[in-house]
């Protein structure tokens, strides 16, 4: 998670307007999900992966590792979608018998499963595109533009900031416990981790108090007002996005599948 955060700030797309990146990711997901086309998903997977690795500069190995995380879930889900069993022999193209039951693969459900797999995988790639190129802060600023309630925005802003503060604190406590053999046996580990967590709660409370004092000192009156950094739209990017999405729609309609 922390690595994703780091790449989000240090990639070749980081200066692009967050709205451009969000629209690109969301529209592509929308088209992939609505299109019943193998072709669309495969194009989305390859184009986005290529973009991330070659243009954005995300290391191939790291990206591959990220893809493996949802892959196991996807494969398990697809298998359950494709394997069916019954008392009678259906039109399985592959089957085996076990205690009077037939377990087998139907060509129709295999099609559905592969399509399901490809669609989900393509959508994951789109989401990775957004998370790897767009820092959380910018995603928050996009949500602000979409008039999400102020309280949600403020909470997201504070939570994002204090995840790291709390992680640092947890790290310090753990180091000091480790240096005093706090994790030398299973029993001690349980004890230490319990202490760490309870301590973290107390620190979080203390931090919240301190933060409030610091905010009030700067004139806080119940509303956190901040200015966003300015981004400029690039006509080139917008054109590329429009062209790509149109291309995807055309592929979805004419190439390989019916567009729902």
């Amino acid at each position: 998670m922390i690595d994703i955060d780091q790449y989000a700030y240090n990639n070749n797309f980081s200066s692009f307007h967050p709205l451009e990146k969000s629209f690109f990711a969301l529209f592509t997901i929308l088209i992939t999900l609505t299109a019943n086309s193998f072709m669309t998903s495969i194009i989305v997977i390859s184009v986005i992966s290529l973009m991330l690795i070659t243009a954005a500069g995300i290391p191939f190995k790291f990206y591959l590792k990220l893809l493996f995380i949802p892959l196991s879930f996807l494969i398990i889900a697809s298998i359950t979608a494709v394997v069916s069993f019954s008392r009678e022999l259906n039109n399985y193209f592959f089957y085996f018998e076990l205690g009077g039951w037939f377990f087998g693969l139907e060509s129709k459900s295999l099609n559905t499963a592969v399509l399901l797999f490809l669609k989900s995988f393509a959508s994951i790639c789109c989401l990775y595109f957004l998370t790897l190129t767009t820092p959380v802060l910018e995603i928050i600023s996009v949500l602000r533009k979409f008039k999400l309630p102020e309280i949600v925005i403020e909470l997201m802003m504070l939570i994002y900031r204090f995840i790291f503060v709390l992680l640092d604190t947890a790290d310090l406590i753990r180091t000091s416990q480790l240096s005093r053999l706090g994790y030398s046996s299973i029993k001690k580990s349980f004890f230490s981790i319990a202490k760490l967590i309870s301590n973290l709660f107390i620190r979080a409370y203390y931090r919240a108090q301190g933060l409030l004092t610091a905010l009030v000192a700067r004139g806080y009156d119940g509303k956190i007002r901040v200015l966003e950094r300015k981004y400029s739209f690039s006509y080139k990017n917008i054109m590329i996005i429009i062209l790509f999405e149109t291309f995807l729609i055309i592929i979805s309609i004419f190439g390989g599948g019916n567009f729902v």
């Binding site: 955060d5 780091q6 700030y9 980081s14 820092p135 959380v136 802060l137 802003m157 504070l158 994002y160 900031r161 790291f164 503060v165 640092d168 931090r207 301190g210 933060l211 004092t213 610091a214 905010l215 009030v216 000192a217 700067r218 004139g219 806080y220 009156d221 956190i224 007002r225 901040v226 200015l227 966003e228 950094r229």
Partner: protein
């Protein structure tokens, strides 16, 4: 010599105790002159930070008064706003002060609270970032920055509000010598532009060389005040307040003791002045 000086901040017999019963301030009085460099020394828990929160109107004295520009603070909403606009506090731990992961957002918070327009705020933010030399890190998230960089942002936070007085709560603590010198340089630069600076510290050498006027706190009271020479040559006071002597004065007094220089020679204020004597 009569110099009419303007008192910008005053505390008059301020008494304050925390809900848990600790007597944080025990009838404390002091006054801060405009444009000066004031150092406040004292052990942990002597009441320095508590006083700072009083100056900013966050804490209200149980007894006694806080005065701003000679006028008693009444703790009305409008007046508090004015007080917080003019008295800025740079807190000790920047991780406690910074609430946003974005440097720009962070610094824009203060000016926007003053009711400034967006254009004006952007100007203020840019200016503050320029002074603190952090323009190059403005696109980085706070959690990827070093402690020293966060410290600079926490100062820019306050600078963007252009207060009349800036209070620094132990600004050099946890900083290495190089960075603490840098931060001190920024503080001096801010002071030269006319901002009154109050700084709390445990570093006697720093206080001696830097301050125009020094207050020594102990148990919520002031047990000594004056210019740095007066404070640090007062052995009884130093003993009472558990402070050590700045090394420059120690060397100077040793030189007099050994007859190397006469006692009429004035006390050197800095390392280079001391070396000239030797």
């Amino acid at each position: 010599m009569v110099i009419l000086s303007k008192k910008v901040l005053e505390a008059e017999n301020v008494v304050f105790n925390y809900p848990d019963g600790t007597n944080a301030l025990d009838g404390l009085s002091l006054s801060i002159e405009k444009g000066k460099k004031i150092a406040i020394l004292g052990a942990n828990g002597a009441g320095k930070s508590t006083l700072f929160l009083h100056f900013n109107g966050i804490l209200k004295p149980k007894k006694g008064n806080i005065k701003f520009r000679g006028k008693k603070v009444s703790y009305k909403k409008k007046e508090l706003k004015n007080l917080r606009k003019n008295i800025g506090i740079v807190f000790q731990d920047p991780d406690m002060q910074l609430f946003s992961s974005s440097v720009f957002q962070e610094i824009s918070f203060g000016p926007l609270n003053l009711g400034l327009s967006e254009t004006k705020t952007r100007e203020r933010v840019d200016e503050a970032m320029q002074i603190m030399e952090i323009t190059n890190i403005k696109d980085k998230p706070t959690h990827l920055l070093s402690y020293g960089q966060k410290k600079r942002i926490s100062i820019a936070d306050i600078l963007a509000m252009k207060p009349e007085v800036i209070i620094f709560d132990e600004p050099t603590v946890w900083l290495d010598p190089k960075h603490s010198k840098e931060i001190l340089g920024f503080i001096n630069q801010i002071n030269k532009k006319g901002t009154t600076v109050i700084l709390s510290t445990h570093d006697v050498d720093l206080a001696y060389q830097w301050a125009d006027y020094i207050y020594i706190f102990s148990d919520g009271k002031i047990i000594g005040e004056g210019n740095s020479e007066k404070i640090f040559r007062d052995n009884k006071l130093l003993k009472e307040s558990d402070l050590i002597k700045p090394w420059i004065i120690e060397v100077y007094e040793k030189l007099i003791q050994n007859g190397k220089i006469s006692s009429t020679v004035s006390v050197p204020k800095s390392k280079s002045e001391l070396f000239e004597l030797i």
